[in-house]
Structure formats: C-alpha cells, structure tokens
Amino acid sequence: MRGKLHINGEWHSFHADPATPLHRVLREQIGLTGAKDVCGEGFCGACLVEVEGEPVAACLLPVALAECTQIVTIEGLYHDPVGRRVMAALEAEDAVQCGMCFPGMVMTLTHLLKTDPTTDREKVKHALVGNICRCTGYERIVSTACRAAKAMAEADVREETA
C-alpha cells in the first residue's frame, strides 16, 4: 500500500505492505533511525514511539494502523520540554554507554514524568520493565529519572509561586 504518516508534525509518504511494522517503515523508508530494531517482539523498548501521546512498541504496530495518528519519534521528542529535560539529565549524569536503548528509555521516562510527577525508584523501575539495557545496569538511569522528576517538581513550584 501507499500511504502517509504524520510524524513529528510533518507528513511522510511510504510504500509498504500494510502489516509492515511501523519501525521498519520509519527506519528503512523515512530515514528516521532513532527507533531501533532490536527484538521485534515488544520486549526491549528500543523502538518505542509516541502514538497519540503514548509510547508504544513500533515493532508491534502495523503501518496500516499508524495512518491517521499523531506520531512522535525520539527525533521529535527533543522538541518536547520534558523530553529534552530527560535527555539533558541523562547526559549530565554520564548515564549513556552504547546508546542503542536510550531512545526508548527517553520515551518511557518522558511519559512517566509527565503522567506521574511524584515518581520514585520503584515506580521508575516498574515503568522500565519493557526497556532493556545491556550496558549500564540501569541504576544510573533510574537515579537520573528520580532526580529529574524532583527538579521538575521544584521548577513547577517555582513557576507557580512566581
């Protein structure tokens, strides 16, 4: 099928079998390679993209069902204030190693910080059940997320009181 996808605020056309998983179309046809093709089964989270505001595993989403939705990939998440904050925090805390899992990590953590600003270690770890990292041993990512949540909450308080 030929179709169009609305990604990061722009329209992109594609030509693929309708059952093709979204991440393959993003990577192979549209040139958005931030979503990684790692497990293809929804276990690892490396291909997470936001669809209608929620992170989903692009490997389990047929491109035919991604038409007519609002898609934000990791490339677009940089323009989201919370997303950018998460990225900056992970960079500042020296959390990154090989980097393959981080686009998905950022997707999950951004969503978590938006939906649950009172997050703690336990909640972060629960949220990361579908994000596999083979390099870092997770803990630095978890600490960073908690610190970022706290910093955001304090910033919000400052904004509110200002």
Binding site: P18, A19, C59, L65
Partner: protein, 295 residues
C-alpha cells in the same frame, strides 16, 4: 531505489466500524481472515497472505461500562485502560492486578482483553484465570447470531470449527457484594517474562467468616487455563488462611499436569502452585482484615 514489484502487497487490512460489519467481513473472507485487535501476539509471527480485520475503528468494542451489578468490558479495551478503570473498585482488585502486571507497559497499552481471551496458542495470559475466577460471561457474535456463554465454556468452544470467524464482543464481570478476587503470578524475573504459573482466587466470607463461593483458576501451568474444582471444594467453608490453603493445594496438585517448556521443567510449575495459591490467599486475608479493601 527499491523497485515497486518488490513491495508487492501480502496482506490486507480491513477497518470495519461496527460489530455487524466486522462479522460480515469475517464471514465473507472465511479462513483467510483473522481478527486483529492489539496485534501484540500476531505481529510477532505474522501469517502470510492474510486478511486482517482490524477492530481499531469499532468504537463499541472500546467501551467499558461499570454498573452496580456488572462491569462490561469491550473486547478492544486494553490492559492499560482496564487497570485504570478498575482502580479503587472493591472486589475486583485481582483483575486490576492481572491487567496491571502482565507483560510490560508498552504492551499493556496495546494488548486487549479480547486478544488475551482469543489467543488459544498463549497459555500464560493473565486475564484468563482472573476472569475465570470472576465468573465472567462473554458475548460472542457469529454470522448465525449472537450468544452469551461463560468464559469457561468459551475457552473450549474457541477451539472448535464453529468458532471460526467469531467475534468476541465483550466480557461481563458480575459485581457481587462481599466477593473478593485475588491474583498471584510467578515470573522468573521480577516481571517482564511470561508467567510460569498464575492463580486467581475468588471467594466471599459468609456470616461465620468462612469462605463461600470459592473459585480457583489456574493459568500457564497447562496448555489452557482452567478451574481447580477439587481445591474449591476443600477451601469452601474454611477460613482464609495461607498455611491451610498451601497444604490443601499441595495435597491436590496432582490434579494438574505441568507443561514442559524451555523456560521451566514441568515439575517446577506444579511445585510452585501451592505457594502461589498461598500468596493469593494471603491477599484475601489481608483484604478481609481491612474490611474488604486492599491495604
């Protein structure tokens, strides 16, 4: 540039907007058609040359209606939504746990209640034992018409030829005063892998604080989830007590034949079953101590 013929279409997606339209499509397409709900199972092993009847645009299937008597869950309601809607609803905590702890967050946002019940190849679906213990009814539509049946009956019926091209529309869970539901799952890691065993336990305390209307459902241990009638009998009239429950389960565990799989040997599933039942019973105990609510 990839030549166009290389992108020859293998599959067709159909997007009905009503239940009737979906059923008509399934009937018309016959054996080449398969219902596509959340896709979290089908996308892992896509079947070639298939017609997928997507339920994404059938609004009716996404509804979840809570009345004092029942909770009616549309087949296309996701695990995520189910967990959120059941939040704080007394009596069905175990169903909320099953919806909230299965798989991982991204999968829970896509995987549907209907998909969990229809995928007969998947023995470790959390919602199946939880809904069995809740004595859920399912509504099924076929070209011949619609029918309500118990989930218990449905699990066998879905394997029959007559079930070809049926559409599971909704699941209805009765809300009965005083009835509690607990769900215990055992994974090899803390979470994230397919459970090696699942137990859902439903009961209510009678006037003498003894357990009545006991239902025990076991998932993942055999190829298909089922109830544990022998144990239900033993627990009926007993008080909610973990140690007693474990002992009874140990005595009756031979009622099951453990499924051998690469992840665990058959004996392991059977061995952990009593402990898992104990954990479910401990949840009930705790809730009873808290006047029927989770702590």
């Amino acid at each position: 540039m990839i030549p166009a013929e290389a992108l020859e279409q293998q599959t067709d997606f159909h997007h009905p907007v009503t239940v009737q339209e979906a059923v008509r499509l399934l009937a018309k397409l016959g054996t080449n058609a398969i219902v596509f709900a959340g896709g979290t199972w089908l996308m892992r092993a896509p079947a070639p040359s298939r017609h997928y009847v997507s339920l994404g645009r059938v609004a009716a299937l996404r509804q979840l209606v809570i009345t004092p008597e029942t909770v009616r869950i549309g087949a296309a309601v996701t695990h995520d939504k189910l967990a959120a809607e059941l939040q704080g609803l007394p009596g069905l905590e175990g169903l909320a746990v099953a919806a909230k702890r299965a798989a991982n967050p991204a999968i829970r946002r896509r995987a549907t209640v209907g998909g969990n019940l229809c995928t007969k190849e998947f023995p470790a679906a959390d919602l199946v034992p939880a809904l069995l213990a809740a004595e859920a009814m399912v509504k099924v539509v076929t070209p011949e018409g619609q029918a309500n049946q118990s989930l218990l009956a449905y699990l066998d019926w879905r394997r029959e030829a007559a079930a070809q091209n049926h559409l599971l529309v909704s699941v209805e869970v009765p809300q009965r005063a005083g009835r509690l539901l607990a769900h215990a799952r055992l994974t090899l890691r803390r979470a994230g892998d397919y459970p090696v065993a699942l137990i859902s336990l439903s009961a209510r305390p009678d006037a003498k604080n003894q357990l009545a209307d006991v239902v025990v459902a076991v998932g993942a241990v055999e190829d298909q989830a089922r109830r544990w009638p022998g144990l239900e009998q033993r627990l009926t009239g007993a008080t909610a007590d973990k140690a007693f429950a474990v002992k009874m389960a140990q005595e009756l565990v031979a009622d099951f034949r453990g499924r051998e799989g690469p992840e665990v040997p058959d004996w392991y599933r059977l061995h952990v079953l009593p402990e898992l039942l104990g954990r479910a019973m401990a949840q009930l105990q705790e809730r009873l101590a808290n006047g029927g609510r989770a702590a």
